[in-house]
Symmetry: C2
Subunit: 178 residues, 2 copies
């Protein structure tokens, strides 16, 4: 099985927050597609925080993409100037006021591979303790929840946690909860 070959690529929408590309591509069977549109997304970072007493930290906030109040783990768009791990440490503190004893890299995942280039870097933050207050910008209003694994599994079952990145993160982090 072979990849498509990108013959040319043009940003047809491009500002600070969103970039859409129109690619001309050649398929392995020779067919040419003149206009394959996709979102050239920035990398994101997701953190599953586990406290010293083996509880998970969650953030409850309004997300305008879906227009709903969601429960997820902390996450952010990675700044160009930082590594994924630096972003994880920064964002965990900003959103929750907690600092981790150790930050473990789980891996890189895709949130929407057909139409978005987005890579999400998943970390588990172990031995988290509260070291300060949240540091939010003026558009953010985040409630921090602390729950054991069984409660989070209930949230998933009850559709209170609906973000696939957080659901996958829960299962990938379970070994750090024992």
């Amino acid at each position: 099985m072979k990849k498509w070959k990108t013959l040319s690529s043009e940003l047809v929408f491009n500002n600070k927050w969103f970039r859409i590309a129109k690619d001309k591509v050649r398929l392995p069977n020779g067919k040419i597609i003149d206009d394959y549109f996709s979102w050239k997304a920035k990398e994101v970072v997701w953190i599953v925080p586990v406290t010293t007493d083996k509880k998970l930290l969650l953030v409850k906030q309004y997300k305008h993409g879906v227009g709903e109040i969601t429960i997820e783990y902390p996450g952010a768009i990675k700044e160009d100037s930082e590594t994924p791990k630096e972003c994880a440490i920064r964002e965990l503190f900003e959103e929750t006021g907690y600092t981790a004893g150790k930050v473990v890299y789980i891996g890189e995942y895709f949130e929407s591979p057909t139409k978005s280039s987005c890579r999400g870097h998943l970390f588990v933050a172990i031995d988290c303790v509260k070291t300060g207050n949240q540091y939010l910008d003026e558009t953010e209003d985040i409630e921090v929840l602390k729950a054991n694994l069984n409660s989070v599994l209930e949230m998933i079952k009850n559709k209170e946690m609906k973000f696939t990145g957080s659901i996958a993160g829960t299962f990938l982090a379970t070994k750090y909860l024992k």
Copy 2:
């Protein structure tokens, strides 16, 4: 905790394949944001297919969004004219040539709630049997894989399966594999 109020919304990029909106919104604290950009995505459907001998069916294909060959469960953008369940049944057959004895709705999930409106409807297709050949369009080249749960968990561990929707789907479907 309150939602943001959308004061006005304009499609700043709009074609058959992609729609980007610029919203003017009022936050609960009174602050106005003039330009919140988000992807007005179509609903998608993900199917976790389980065969009569309790194997999972996977599809291996090139995804141009991420530029990689991926292993996922079957999935598709839902057509306006069909229900999520109709889409699941159609897409399962088209991508794999299998038909389910029963299709169970697991629920609605978000793939990227901050910047995308996308809702993904997750189904488990039980008692799948091969009833025909794949029915692919000329841009599709899909290899069907059949694996038991332990092999899929290995694929997740080895980063062969990197789509969070499929990883979450694997864990949410496990009770149908016993």
